[in-house]
């Protein structure tokens, strides 16, 4: 921790003032075990003197059991015992360090294809992502996937760290070649700013200080870049949004709304609109334990009072007038599936968005995106780690912003009501046409010996044999037909038409 400005040099209050001015950068790291990601993070922590002696001793002790020479930096970050034994990281781990310029939170995530879930989780709170590329291997399929996920999750800044430069003789041509390759991928994500840096995490080249071994590289070291890159501008510049977390009513003469400002800023007197009701009023006071504020901006937790008596409840939004959010009953969103149990079209999930939980029906998967090729692929459901675009209908009016414009009001999770597991992460792209198709009365279908039978209710109950079976052998064609039946809201035989969940197939 000695990298922090010493209070001895300043008065203590000057030191505290400097400390409180430091901003926070949250970043995530992606790369497979072999790319040396854990070593890179261990190196950042070690070289910024964020590792204590006893922590170092305990990993030096542990290293003796594996065939590592000096300090195995990766052991500083591999958290759980099972992982230490297998030598892999399998979840998201959070690390903390600080330099005289900034505080940092690292979301350390594994990069294998099967861990898309973890990378998405780590990226969801990050403003910057470091993608590691092995200098000996160049740009791989997974590099493309990491860049795609960073772009999908709205990461502002991407750092491509080309690692193991010591193993390619610190050759500039290798670095330039990989940079050129990677920039081709990035043309798909114009909103992402990128920075390329050649490093050796093991030796320490260009991690904290600029490398003597690569005089041809004139850019900043990785840490210098992390300390100076501008972040957080989008949230501050976005329109004012305040999801009401709690109605505060300690007595009859006080009624306030507590929550965190998720974007923009607010002052007493600001005209605002309450959503979903659409009622207009103005901000009266910004109340805090430490006294009223004249102004508060994104990230602050405050209690707001309004000029008019309006009936507001948890989950409602207070938003600036003029920059209205959208209000709808159906949304289009990109879903990342997080659970072993695949998505079920027609199923009702609990949807949590900002401070609100609602029932929502997964109407359909419109398109799947292969995490391998990033191309569209066939299929009508999403399994663990799959990504797709979906239409979702909400039981009540739903207020949101596009995720690209506002992460906090454009994101949601889906929860399986039976298991309470968080099954999907969603990023809203737009309002959808509500599917107004009414169920086809009296028509239903049934599978029998691999044949799909479409008939009227009476056709089945009175004399099943009279229905003409439609023989479909091809499983893909069968699935396509099922999907079509769902869309047309033709029920499976025996399903009650009142309950949506009976429509599961």
């Amino acid at each position: 921790m000695a990298a922090i400005a010493s209070p001895v040099e300043n008065t203590f209050d000057e030191f505290l003032a400097l400390e409180s001015k430091k901003d926070l950068l949250r970043f995530t790291t992606a790369g497979s075990v072999d790319d040396g990601k854990s070593t890179l993070i261990g190196r950042l922590l070690y070289d910024s003197r964020s590792v204590y002696d006893d922590q170092l001793e305990s990993v030096t002790k542990a290293s003796a059991g594996r065939n590592a020479g000096a300090i195995d930096f990766s052991l500083l970050t591999d958290g759980l015992r099972a992982e230490r034994e297998q030598g892999i990281t399998i979840d998201v781990a959070y690390r903390y360090f600080a330099t005289p310029k900034r505080k940092f939170i690292i979301a350390d995530t594994p990069g294998h294809e099967q861990y898309t879930r973890n990378m998405v989780t780590g990226a969801s709170t990050a403003e910057l992502a470091i993608v590691l590329v092995d200098a000996r291997k160049g740009v791989l399929e997974q590099s493309r996937r990491h860049a795609y996920i960073a772009g999908l999750l709205g990461i502002e800044q991407l750092v491509v760290a080309i690692n193991k430069m010591d193993l390619v003789g610190y050759d500039e041509a290798v670095f330039r070649h990989i940079e050129t390759d990677f920039r081709k991928i990035l043309t798909r994500f114009p909103a992402v700013e990128s920075y390329f840096v050649p490093v050796s995490a093991l030796v320490g080249d260009n991690i904290v200080t600029r490398s003597q071994n690569m005089p041809w590289f004139e850019g900043r070291s990785l840490l210098e870049h992390l300390e100076t890159v501008p972040v957080g501008g989008r949230v501050r510049a976005a329109a004012f949004r305040f999801p009401v977390q709690r109605v505060v009513r300690p007595s009859h003469d006080f009624r306030g709304y507590a929550g965190t400002i998720v974007s923009g800023s607010v002052q007493p007197g600001d005209p605002v609109v309450i959503w979903p009701s659409g009622r207009e009023t103005t901000i009266a006071r910004i109340v805090t334990f430490d006294g009223d504020l004249e102004r508060a901006e994104a990230g602050k937790s405050v209690t707001l009072t309004l000029a008019d008596e309006i009936d507001l409840s948890r989950g409602d939004f207070i938003a600036s007038r003029g920059h209205a959010p959208q209000k709808t009953h159906a949304i289009e969103a990109t879903l990342v599936w997080l659970n072993e149990k695949p998505s079920e079209v027609g199923k009702r999930y609990r949807l949590k968005h900002a401070a609100r939980q609602d029932w929502a029906t997964l109407k359909q998967i419109n398109r799947r995106i292969s995490v391998k090729t990033l191309e569209e692929e066939a299929g009508y459901s999403l399994e663990l780690n799959a990504i797709g675009e979906a239409t979702i209908e909400t039981a009540r009016a739903f207020v949101f912003d596009n995720y690209a414009q506002n992460r906090a009001t454009g994101s949601f999770i889906l929860i399986d009501p039976a298991t309470n597991a968080t099954v999907a992460a969603g990023m809203i792209s737009d309002a959808a046409e509500s599917s107004a198709i009414e169920p086809l009365a009296g028509i239903c279908w049934k599978l029998e010996h691999g044949a799909l039978i479409l008939a009227s209710e009476q056709g089945f109950t009175a004399s099943e044999k009279s229905a003409e079976p439609l023989q479909i052998e091809d499983p893909e064609a069968l699935e396509a037909l099922r999907h079509l039946l769902r869309r047309l809201r033709i029920r499976p035989f025996g399903a009650a038409d009142s309950s949506e969940s009976d429509w599961e197939i």
């Binding site: 781990a93 959070y94 709690r246 949590k352």
Partner: protein, 283 residues
């Protein structure tokens, strides 16, 4: 905290009396201001906490007008539980883990908020802010819910519970700076003063409990020292320090090269020991 109160049935704040708990209490006051803190505090008292901790607990919580529930595993104490007779693992198991699970069950609490931070210990780096526990109160590192953005899944079935860590992303330095900036009261044990200690090499052992074994001829010496973190007196070593004010503590922290749990005997009784305790239900 507001999410917990809005979405859980019977929340409780696990109050450990330490500096992180003091910060939690201040945050709770702020989160619900101008209303009162809408949940009780639960202290798992092993019976072996420092005297000054208990005095501070009773005075401070009364001053803030908070409801305090104290739970102790009296049965185990009567059977003679102490870290010397039972060993630290069995002693912690009975006086902390079992006692906590009993205390939560007796109160019918479905969400317990605590002051643990991810920077404290390796296995805590992967802890969620909302950490799911099964019906036996146990933590399965492979059965935790992914946590995205700031959206927290608080849904549980009857009998299951949540442990919630609002200070997850704070570091030790953040805590001390906040205590200074907000002028938050903390237990005097954190400040250096001459205290009677058994001196064994670099280790300073407090002598509050009669069962702490002494070496032949060993006598406590007065040593200028303080506690960097607080636990049970027989298992919490002091550090030599002159830091008797908050600025001096912060200065010391910046130059110190040892992590704060290093003086906690129980973290080091086997490799990965915090992870094992957590799986069993330790907070």
């Amino acid at each position: 905290m507001r999410e917990v109160v809005a979405e859980c049935q019977r929340p409780v704040l696990l109050y450990s009396i330490g500096k992180d708990s003091s910060v939690l209490l201040r945050l709770a006051q702020k989160a619900f201001y101008p209303g009162p803190v809408p949940f009780p505090l639960l202290h798992i008292d092993t019976g072996y906490k420092f005297r000054e901790m208990i005095e501070f607990r009773d005075r401070y919580t009364a001053e803030l007008g908070l409801k305090l529930i104290v739970h102790t595993n009296h049965a185990a104490l009567e059977e003679g539980a102490n870290p010397f007779a039972w060993g630290t693992q069995r002693c912690c198991g009975a006086l902390k883990t079992t006692s906590l699970l009993d205390g939560l069950r007796e109160g019918g609490f479905d969400a317990a908020m605590g002051g643990a931070r991810r920077d404290e210990e390796r296995s805590r780096a992967k802890e969620r802010v909302f950490s799911f526990r099964d019906t036996r109160g146990q933590w399965d590192p492979r059965n935790q819910r992914p946590e995205l953005w700031n959206i927290f899944n608080t849904r549980i079935h009857p009998g299951e519970s949540l442990r919630v860590f609002p200070l997850s992303n704070w570091t030790e330095l953040d805590i001390w700076q906040y205590i200074y900036a907000e002028n938050i009261p903390i237990v005097p044990l954190y400040f250096a003063k001459p205290r009677p200690m058994l001196v064994r090499g670099d280790s300073l052992l407090p002598v509050e409990q009669p069962f702490v074994r002494r070496l032949p001829g060993e006598q406590p010496q007065m040593v200028m020292c303080r506690m960097r973190s607080l636990g049970c007196s027989p298992c919490t070593g002091a550090i030599r320090s002159e830091a008797d004010t908050l600025p001096k503590i912060i200065e010391e922290l910046i130059s110190v090269r040892r992590s704060e749990r290093q003086n906690r005997v129980i973290d080091h009784d086997q490799d990965g020991s915090m992870e094992i305790k957590k799986q069993e239900g330790y907070f």
